[in-house]
Amino acid sequence: MIAFIVLFIAIIINGTKIQSVEEYYLTHIDDITEDSETVFIQINASTILDNWDRLDPVLRSEKYVPHDGMILERTEYVLRPNETVFDILQRTVRYNQIHMEYQGANENIYNSVYIQGINHLYEFSVGPSSGWMYAVNGEFPDYGVSKYVLEDGDEIELLYTCDLGRDVRNEFIEKRKESN
């Protein structure tokens, strides 16, 4: 009887952490609650599936290009104040242990972080017109990932292009053709 009570209490207490407010805030910063602002992110390299013959042979493996091209399915993350696409992307790849290489903002001319490779897929891995692009809510900004400040509900897509964006942003090319 006593043993049962002890066990019961132990179970209840074991699931409870006794923390100060700061500690609670720190360890729960990325928990999604009703009040939290969130964004969605996905990492998609599916264009490579159509350009397999041009892919660097050492990368022709499901380890680098999953069968459906999705390196990361659409995932929701908490958006902290003033966070950029880069902040979310960096947290995403860390939490999911996905490889990423980038150039710091002061190392390139764009004054912004520049994504060189994700999951070992680099710019030019599929020919001279290939590399990573990003879109937020379907729009392709022409400035770097660390310059784009996100808002609640934004949809981020990291997209691998094999044709300077033409294969991931159709409407853009049509617009350009009209103006030419």
Binding site: I2, K17, I29, D30, N106, I109, N111, Y122, F124, P141
Partner: protein, 650 residues
């Protein structure tokens, strides 16, 4: 102090603006009749041009210094700046500056870039997996700083690193120069010709193969572009810069032009002529150029470099004056009061970096080297990307005199001119092949010969232009009448004091200092006096490398042990504690290089909370057991008492 600096800038700005106005007037007044102005007249304008351009170049360098909080009189190539050596932002300024001969600390750049190259050569892909332009940019910056890119330290197996071989003619052994597109071929060729490098027989690529790869990509409208089917001024200008040394070549190439999907046979000169025509058509009314529908300073700067590489005077050639505006008018639109230049005047509200009112580092560096190219052209120095020792006066005179005789050939030559033309051609052949590209108006001679059916016996340039296997670039001052930057290094008493002032507990913050002093000491003529200091420095360098390694290991440990965060538990305490301990052993400066340390704090807090919860749980259990024990004892006692009472009552 700050007020003072601003005041000076303002003042010199007024001065510049005045000069620009004078210059504009001068061009405007002389333009309609420039063909008939005497040499004396043009000389006046020329002097004005170069002085003005040199002031603008200095203004850009000073602006750059201000952006990194460096005193105007101190070198730009300091610790802060050199943190980015080997990156785009760290290499183009040394290039532009070195080619102007501005006094700066080029030895420091060379010291740091050698370290950077050696370090990156230890990685699998060396400087880059796919971008050969990493080799090109770094090689050019090394030459501009007076270094030798064919001998940049040693790789991990102890072999000397030859950036030219591995970045140009042998790059294809690892990955095609074209892996990144047209850019790779263009910059590969520019780099190969930077010192007119010799291509060995077993090389993967040759000058011919690289030229043909560029020619193939010419668009139907005559220009070039990275991705579009219509010409882009930047790429067109860069293609011209790469092909310019072959403008006088009589070799014809037969190749498949991709945009036409057709076999064509052309000389480099034909292609360049078409590209120049395209550039002329692309020039805007304001004298500037636009790329991706945005008029901007960089496109204009690239065109200036292209024109000067062909010996076309950008201020006088009618093809490049629109509405009375030259490229100089075009580029002056982008100048800011602080001496820097902006990218574009239009503002994109979504793009916080497209500030139309704040100088931009890329725009400023490109305008700087374009102005350097202009001054080199007007003052008779080699072109921007020709890093060989300057020509001696005899050769300059020889070339100048041939150029003048070519100008005397009538536009419509007759039989009677044959003798004269043959004579001039003979003089042309007396110029060493590798210098013939400087006879900028040779095409007039070649045209006249063709019209009169005179056989052109000039040897193919590609086969004879490669003359150098190694060698340092020379820094020649455009500011100081071609004075050569002294490279004899003396380790001063001041340097010794600075070295002894380095902290005992060294951090990565002092990396640039340490490697610069080592380089200086190793090359100093008084090296022997400071052998002990060299040992000390080498020791410090080793310590810094250990710290860098530790930083890398900690970063990797964080990645390996901390994620996914939901799996963190008491079992990870040891690992997390270890990370914290190692982090705390680092200096404050080095700690900044640990990525996402907040996640470690988060994990630590989580683990501590879990442990606390466990202690509390154990405590509570103990209390329950104790209380329970006494309660049961109490109950039993009462039962016993009740029983006893009952028995007594009974």
């Amino acid at each position: 102090m700050k007020m003072n600096r601003e005041f000076i800038t303002q003042n010199s700005l007024l001065h510049w603006l005045n000069k620009i106005i004078i210059l504009i007037l001068a061009i405007f007044l002389t333009f309609p009749s420039f063909r008939s102005v005497t040499i004396a007249d043009t000389n006046d304008v020329k002097e004005l041009d170069s002085d003005l351009f040199l002031e603008l170049i200095e203004g850009i360098i000073q602006w750059k210094k201000m952006t990194i909080n460096t005193n105007i009189n101190a070198p730009l190539l300091n610790n802060t700046f050199l943190e980015n050596a080997g990156e785009t932002t760290g290499d183009w300024y040394p290039l532009g500056m070195g080619r102007s001969g501005y006094e700066d600390d080029y030895e420091s750049y060379l010291a740091v870039i050698r370290e950077v190259v050696e370090k990156r050569y230890k990685q699998e892909n060396k400087l880059s997996d796919s971008k050969a332009t990493e080799w090109h940019r770094i090689s050019l910056a090394i030459l501009a700083s007076g270094g030798d890119p064919t001998n940049m330290g040693n790789d991990s197996s102890g072999k000397p690193i030859n950036l030219i071989a591995e970045g140009t003619y042998n790059r294809g052994k690892t990955r095609s120069l074209g892996a990144q597109g047209l850019n790779g071929w263009i910059w590969g060729l520019i780099t190969l010709d930077s010192m007119r490098y010799f291509v060995p027989e077993k090389a993967y690529d040759t000058r011919q193969s690289m030229i043909i790869e560029i020619l193939k990509m010419q668009l139907t409208d005559g220009g070039f572009s990275l991705s579009k089917s219509t010409s882009d001024p930047d790429m067109t200008a860069m293609a011209i810069q790469a092909l310019a040394p072959y403008y006088n070549s009589e070799e014809s190439y037969t190749y498949h032009q991709k945009a036409r999907d057709k076999q064509v046979t052309k000389k480099v000169r034909d292609v360049i002529n078409e590209a120049v025509e395209t550039l002329s058509e692309l020039q805007l009314d304001g004298g500037d150029f636009e790329s991706w529908e945005t008029p901007n300073s960089e496109s204009t700067a690239q065109v200036i470099v292209a024109l000067t590489s062909l010996g076309i005077d950008p201020l006088k050639d009618e093809r490049f004056i629109k509405n009375g505006n030259t490229v100089i008018h075009g580029i002056s639109k982008y100048m800011m009061e602080d001496g820097g230049f902006i990218h574009s005047e239009s503002f994109d509200p979504k793009n916080p970096s497209s500030l139309p009112d704040e100088s931009n580092t890329m725009a400023s560096e490109q305008v700087m080297y374009a102005l350097v190219a202009l001054v080199r052209y007007y003052e008779n120095f080699r072109t921007l990307y020709d890093f060989r020792e300057e020509m001696d006066n005899d050769l300059k005179k020889q070339i100048e005199s041939i150029k003048q005789s070519i100008e005397t050939i009538p536009d419509d030559p007759h039989e009677a001119d044959i003798h004269l033309i043959k004579q001039i051609f003979n003089d042309y052949l007396n110029v060493p092949i590798e210098e013939r590209s400087y006879v900028f108006n040779y095409y007039k001679l070649a045209d006249a010969m063709e019209k009169l059916g005179i056989e052109n016996t000039s040897e193919p340039i590609t086969e004879h232009i490669g003359i150098n296997k190694e060698g340092k670039g020379t820094i020649v001052s455009l500011f100081d009448n071609g004075k050569i930057h002294a490279s004899d290094i003396v380790f001063t008493e001041n340097d010794a004091v600075s070295v002894s002032n380095l902290p005992d507990k060294i951090t990565t913050e002092y990396y640039v200092d340490v490697v610069t002093y080592i380089e200086k000491l190793e090359h100093a003529s008084n090296k022997g006096d400071y052998e002990q200091l060299l040992d000390e420095l080498t020791d410090k360098k080793k310590k810094i490398e250990e710290i860098e390694n530790e930083i890398e290991l900690i970063n990797q440990a964080i990645l390996d042990y901390l994620y996914p965060f939901s799996d963190i538990g008491i079992k990870d305490k040891e690992k997390v504690d270890d990370i914290v301990k190692r982090y705390e052993a680092l200096s404050t400066y080095d700690r900044q290089k640990i990525q996402n340390y907040e996640d470690v704090e988060k994990a630590e807090t989580e683990i501590n909370s879990l442990i606390r919860a466990r202690y509390i749980m154990i405590g509570v259990c103990l209390i329950i057991i104790v209380v329970g024990f006494f309660y049961i004892k109490h109950i039993r006692k009462r039962r016993r008492e009740k029983l006893q009472q009952k028995m007594i009552e009974d």
